[in-house]
């Protein structure tokens, strides 16, 4: 079992969600995060001084799934989230040892 973590641009969330639904993935957890990378932040003006706001708003999407679904999920995310402009984000895949659904105590891939 794996966990996919995708850092994406906030306004792409809906499209990513829809792309995942299409390949049958209906569960995910979403966090508002701030990203720091090559994409540079905007400048804000305050009292005549300009400040660069380094950290840009991003969305982290986490999906836990079975090994065989990983590949299609990653490409669904990439297709939906890509704008081709800097700051589009990353997808990471990590190993997961165990999954439990709290409601039913089902374990493993059944719990997803």
């Amino acid at each position: 079992m794996k966990k996919i973590e995708a850092i994406i641009k906030p306004f792409k969330l809906e499209e990513v969600k829809d792309a995942l639904s299409e390949i049958g993935i209906e569960g995910m957890t979403v966090t508002e995060v701030k990203g720091f990378g090559r994409q540079k932040g905007h400048t804000e003006i305050y009292r005549g001084s300009e400040y660069t706001v380094d950290f840009l708003p991003k969305i982290k999407v986490e999906i836990v799934l079975g090994d065989e679904q990983v590949e299609s999920a990653v490409s669904a995310i990439i297709n939906a989230a890509k704008t081709g402009k800097i700051g589009d984000g990353k997808v990471f895949v990590c190993p997961v040892d165990e999954i439990v659904r709290i409601r039913t105590e089902e374990k493993g891939e059944n719990a997803v």
Binding site: I45, R47, Y51
Partner: protein, 424 residues
Amino acid sequence: MLFLFLGSVSMIFGQEAVEPEPTLNSGDTAWMIVATVLVLFMTIPGLSLFYGGLVRSKNILSILVQCFALTCIMTLLWVTYGYSLATTDGNAFIGGFEKVFLKGISVDTLSGTIPESVFTTFQMTFAIITPALIVGAFAERMKFSAILLFSTIWFTFSYLPVWHMAWGGGLLAGWSVIDFAGGTVVHINAGIAGLIACIMVGKRKGFGSAALMPHNVPLTVIGASMLWVGWFGFNAGSELAADGTAGMALLVTQIAAATAAVTWMFVEWIKTGKPTAVGIATGTIAGLVAITPASGTAGPMGAILIGVCSGLICYVCATSMKRAFGYDDSLDVFGVHGIGGIVGAVLTGLCAAEFMGGSGISLDSTGAQIFAQIKGVVVTILWSGIVSIVALFLIDKTVGLRTSAESEEMGLDLSDHGESGYNS
């Protein structure tokens, strides 16, 4: 109106017109009760919000509590001795004690055509807002106890004397300085205290390097709007009657505020490419400050001149000058109230002149009036500056001025007031 009536009756009967005892005028009283309410509205919630939005979220409550507590404490000081020391006869610098605890004020005592109770409450609201203005200068770092102490001392030894000098028949009144609604008594007085205090308390941690951004700009814009709205009580109320002068004060206040805001907005737009919300709001306040002393004597054209000058000069002071000198006047108390007050005080002399559409100083005496205005400014700067330095020095040596580094990090809301502004 009653004068008029008595006059006409006397004419009818061919009697001598006698200067009548002033009697209560319900229209004037109605207006002055409302003006009092409006000036209180300027401090809470107006100024509290304007300042509160500009600090970081961990310090929002400290600003609100400071303004609120000063409102209450100044009310009690005004009742106890402020009204007496400011308004009663005394020497050129301060009044006497015959009205301590508002002695002698009853339901029937009048002050001109309005109840004396209304007059003292109206003036109380000025005594409230002036120390509250100062807290913007040392926001986010000064201890609550030190602020209360400082405000009490400064109120007693700077606000009351300057009031008496300008409005109570003292020194500035003797020089015929014009300060219709408090450009000198309120704004320069507070602005200088703010400058001294922000220097003596020291800069905020991170000032100059980190972006100490406003946590909630909408609060600031709402607050500025409320200050604007309330300011009509301040300026038109200073006429103490609902008459033509009050009406003209209403008009010129509106014009100067709008002009200064537009000036600030376009200057900022040209210089940085973006007209900001904090900018236009601050520009308005600059214009309102500057028209304050002139609001009883200037005409519409004078108001435009005052608006343009204050918008321009305060913009420079709150941005470039502050950066050049490196003091941390956090919410621009000096840059807006101090500088705006000075600009306004000087231009008051000019704009009172007939050729400026003002209320009647002749061309010849305009120069003399401007000179008197400048003398008034200088006296106020020195007086408020010295009182502030001494008071802050004493407090620093006793209870201390500044909160600990850790408390500053955590925020004054938790360290001084045991509360967070926002929960879920």
